[in-house]
Symmetry: C2
Subunit: 708 residues, 2 copies
């Protein structure tokens, strides 16, 4: 990637001497940014462009170039690209728009470009992008207006408009960038490659990204998981809601993966998901200058009560905590403050506080062992000198070496103070909640980085037995595996099921029931009925032979009447769950971008009405399986309320891990659901299961995920 | 209040010639704001202050004044106040701090001030405040720095620091105020009086407020409900979380009411609650310039896909909708746009859009009958002229007369465009989500204003019978009314209960059970046991005489062993609920500020674990009772899932309204809970009830709400 970010020579193909044209802006940007390498403007008319004599043809350059920036009409791009390959080129930025985002022809052209680039090992950025900027070395190979300041944020964006808005914001806020990349259509270079590159870039301290879809979910996760251990990755993913996703696919032609899958991918690879642009900037500011706090405990120093309360409110809504100070701290504060000041957290220095009292309070609170980080709120008062306060706070902070954040509630007369804070690495916010949100986010990232290593294990299972069931279904052209077929797979994966057997007659049902012991459950068994409740095909709590026989005839007769066309194998006779059992659901659905997305929830209304579900992508670590279970709102019901016994959590996580293993083993299984899984304090029994299989050897157009 | 906001004479008591002193700043502010009425500086040393000769004593003024601003040491304030009363004064602003917010002595002084002010009919603002500003007429009677621009926002704040921050922000954003009020300790003038005043102030179009507590909940609601029908009220209430509330009470000595009560009060009186300062400003901007939309349907026009998706995402997270355009609209768009532009909502004009295409798109989309309001997103592109776009949008918008909002994604070269939009009343935002949030909020406010009138009715009930039970409990010194006592009140309020009777022996229990019909429930009956489950005092599903007799002895014996000290009246024998019944909880708790706060939730885990509860303040209208029921997440369970019958919703709202009536009739009942109420498709039976009563004639210090 060095040829893209630190090229020693750059060809600008489509360079123009007409001011306002993109081909002129690119050349001018490189010149005004002070690019000192070799520049080759290319224009069929030749002549002098911005003081450099232009080449009429690419071949005229005569020597390979590191980077070429292409801004020519769409229909010329492929030809130009081939000429560049002939000349020799390492990286190409295609600015030109009109590819897969507009029509099928454009899509075909883009595919050809990508193929050529990959064959020749060329880095291709775009097409349909704004370009790339390395703020050091004068590489502003873009048609953005304005040169970003050098800084420590690496930024990439799928949307060119966002690039422009971000550059503009950054210039106004005096925030600098290390690298700035407009991804465009992501024909070759995408978010995964940029995360990898910026992860290794010593000039980048924090990575920011805006995407509308993820190109290669697995590669993205792999890179992000590696890089997030080194530096924070803050990303916005637009198209989160159905309305947004519709706009996304009409815009870039991107197939939006399901948002739950993306959310799980971000979480599992340590990417911090950000919802709003202003929040992205607020968080980036903190991460780029301040150290991570060692814990959630925040000490607040303020000269005004109101903002202190707002900060406390923000703590209450986050994982940040406001610890009680030690008696020593309170004693020291008492000695320095007037009698009616608040000595507790938040410390209120009151309206007549001066720089000295700020400095002392920062020192005292900062030394309290319960405090991990500090928030200093400065509200303007009649005689307060922001500059002096900033100096005092920075000095005090130097002695305590804990992260300090500042909320400066006024823009007037604060320029110098802001510079002092900036130099000392103190992020400054306008409002208390912004500051607390940033601290909360940094703390969570610290927890992520410090988490114990994830443990994976592959449970013993009989893959051949499962394979036989799947192949059999595919051979017979069935896509649904219903209970009595799916059960063989459940068993092959070492999961217990309630004892049960298939009865083909009422007498057989009674015989099986007598063997299992009453009460029993009867369920319709037909390969063509996957939702048994549609035919009212389940009877629970059957207590004697009479009831079983009557239920058998009732279920089968009703099904025959309702679905005269289907084959009825009989009824499944099953052990009844103990009354202490609770029902949970474990399932997965294969996401196009990220693979199997596992789901967990309490059964019944908790999933259906309250949507109380947790998600993770396979393969699932033991720790993640545990998180899934603890994450649902109704978790307390599994722990047991009012003296009820907790369920066997290990048994539940075992089910989750075995399902994850199944999902990884069989790409043919598109969807699976164990529902219900009956858990009590001793075990978790898979009482019902169904799966959807697809022939992955067949035309991909038939896969269910293409039909959405 | 005219003497406060448009005084014809102002005395500044504590005026000083020393620059930087508060008494100097106040006088200077009045002068620099161009106050043209009579000014009387008062200072014991006399002399010339800012060019006016000062009075040594208040009595020297010799003629009554409209307004006096007092900035003298605390211990002089009361004396000064009395002198002002003698001279004759209509309004007094006490700037001085050091009252109830610091110590008991200050609290006593403040009470005396308030008493005097009320006796003499004087408007008292403060103490411990920044002052008051009327941006028209030069009344800057404050020690704020800078004069706010005239405008249409009326702002009041309990926190002086917030006042300063808001003024500073407004000057930077060129936003103006009609009136600007620092409430301080709210000894007399509080949020309710300001809402009333600003509601009638023709110069105020939108009311903004920041409070940490509400002084008089009922008065606040009454004023807010009246005013919110005329103009929007946007308020922040800090101290929302336990952490925040702790900070609040150590700061102002304000007793924080429960946040749920406050939330209900805001909602029921049409106050829009805002969580963050930046949001307050963003919403105020919209309300102060733009008309309310006639519906939730939003048409989006953009020149960049990314921001369009972000706007669509924001719609998905709100009640705003993006309608499908009519075929006519799509046809017109098709004729004007390139083939690869998106003609659907959001309309993407693409990066080469110019002012003309913006104007035409606004006209076309604006004329679509499905569209209620428009969001125009403008991202900077190479050749786009913001000024021209603004002109074209404003012109187009003039022809459609629907509310238009703008997202201008860049600060550079946008000053003129911003002015054009400001003049045309188009609120401009930096980011799409801010704009959609503002539109969402305006739409909700429009719905609130247009809602059908609330209907209240007082159900028939026997207040004397209930009074007898309450008085009896109070006479005997009991504070808890347990089931068999509370049931008489339930019956007096016309609510059905399951048939039941008190049994004093096992034989009596059997006799009652035989009469009621099996199955029955047995519950321990003791005036001293309000939580029957603590002694395991309930048995359900008793099917025969044997079971009833055994249960009676078991329950009573167990209770005697566990609580040998309590009186056991026997057991209550009760009809068993039908299996189709669902359990709900209806209750109330008396909030110190707002009165009875009614609560509704599904029984069991929904309330205990999932905290799925809705709240409203009494008196409850029929419509609000319905809202309470529909608002809970588990509402679907009451409607019936999978073919289950819906419950009798009218019966539930009837219980809510009767409880509201009970709460209003008996201030002695501090807390009440009907739990469970058994509802099925025919009725709602109050199966258990308990209440807490307090002697309100006794010392208020004994009331439970004082003990918090």
């Amino acid at each position: 990637m060095d040829s893209l970010f630190t090229p020693s020579s750059i060809a600008v193909v489509g360079a123009s001497s007409v001011s306002g044209k993109i081909g002129n802006t690119i050349l001018s940007n490189l010149q005004s940014a002070g690019y000192s390498g070799q520049l080759y403007p290319v224009n069929p008319r030749g002549g002098d462009i911005n003081g450099i004599s232009a080449y009429k043809k690419i071949s005229d350059i005569g020597t390979p170039v590191d980077l070429a920036v292409v801004a020519v009409p769409r229909d010329l791009v492929l030809g130009i690209f081939k000429e560049l390959l002939e000349l020799g080129v390492s990286s190409v930025v295609v600015i030109t728009a009109g590819f897969k985002e507009v029509d099928h022809e454009g899509w075909l052209l883009e595919v050809q470009l990508a193929k050529l680039a990959e064959e020749h090992g060329v880095n291709l950025l775009g097409p349909n992008c704004l370009g790339v900027i390395n703020s050091r070395g004068g590489v502003n190979a873009s048609f953005a207006t304005g040169n970003p300041l050098p800084g420590s944020m690496g930024f990439f964006s799928q949307s060119g408009a966002l690039c422009v808005a971000v550059l503009d914001w950054a210039l106004g806020e005096k925030v600098g960038f290390s690298k700035f990349i407009s991804l465009g259509n992501k024909a070759v270079i995408n978010e995964a490659s940029m995360i990898e590159y910026l992860g290794n870039d010593p000039e980048t301290k924090v990575i920011l990204g805006y995407v509308e879809n993820i190109e290669d979910g697995r590669e993205f996760m792999a890179q992000a998981a590696k890089v997030s251990m080194k530096k924070p990755i803050l990303m916005m993913k637009a198209g989160t809601t159905p309305a947004g996703a519709r706009a996304a696919s009409s815009h870039t032609g991107a197939m939006a993966g399901s948002d739950q899958a993306c959310d799980a991918a971000f979480r599992q690879s340590g990417v911090i998901r950000v919802e709003k642009l202003d929040e992205l900037f607020n968080l980036a500011k903190a991460f780029s200058v301040q150290e991570l706090p060692l814990g959630p405990n925040l000490g607040i120093v303020t000269n005004a009560g109101g903002p202190g309360i707002l900060a406390a409110d923000a703590c209450g809504e986050s994982v940040m905590r406001m610890p009680t100070f030690s008696p020593g701290t309170i004693g020291e504060l008492q000695r320095m403050l007037p009698g009616y000041a608040s000595l507790y957290n938040p410390v209120d220095l009151l309206g007549d506080a001066d720089a000295e009292s700020y400095g002392r309070a920062v020192r005292i609170v900062g030394h309290d062992p319960a405090v991990n980080s500090l928030l200093v709120i400065i509200a303007p008062t009649v005689n307060l000198d922001f500059t002096e306060v900033a100096k005092a706070v920075v000095q005090g902070m130097g002695e305590v070496s804990k992260p300090v954040f500042c909320c400066l509630m006024g823009r007037k007369n604060s320029a110098e103070a802001r510079e002092i804070f900036a130099e000392a690495g103190v992020p400054v916010y306008d409002f208390p909640k912004q500051a607390v949100r940033a601290m909360d986010c940094m703390h969570k990232y610290a927890v992520w980085k410090g988490r114990p290593p994830r443990t994976y294990f592959t449970p013993e299972h009989d893959v051949d037995a499962a394979r036989a069931v799947v192949d059999n279904a595919l051979r017979s052209g069935r896509s649904e595996l219903v209970e009595f077929q799916a059960r063989d797979i459940v068993t092959a994966y070492g999961l217990p099921t309630p004892e049960s057997d298939l009865a083909r007659s009422g007498d057989e049902a009674v015989a099986i029931a007598e063997q299992l012991g009453y009460p029993v459950v009867l369920k319709i068994a037909s390969p063509e009925i996957s939702h048994k409740s549609d035919v009212d095909g389940v009877r629970v709590g059957l207590n004697c032979a009479e009831e079983v026989r009557a239920a058998f005839w009732d279920i089968t007769a009703r099904t025959q009447r309702l679905r005269p066309d289907v084959f009825i194998a009989g009824c499944l006779v099953q052990q009844m769950a103990s009354p202490q059992s609770r029902e949970v659901i474990v399932g997965f659905r294969r996401d196009k971008q990220f693979g199997p997305l596992l789901m967990f929830g309490l059964g019944g209304v908790y999933v259906e009405i309250l949507k109380d579900i947790s998600f993770r992508l396979a393969p699932l670590s033991v720790e993640e399986a545990g998180e899934m279970v603890r994450e649902i709102r109704s978790y307390m019901l599994l722990k047991g309320v009012k003296g009820g016994e907790p369920v066997d959590f290990e048994a539940i996580t075992d089910v989750l891990i075995r399902m994850s293993c199944l999902a990884d083993d069989f790409p043919e299984i598109y969807e699976a659901e164990f529902n219900p899984v009956l858990v009590n304090s001793d075990e978790a029994l898979v009482a019902d299961a169904r799966m959807t299989v697809v022939d992955i050897s067949a035309d991909a157009g038939n896969r269910p995920d293409e039909r959405e």
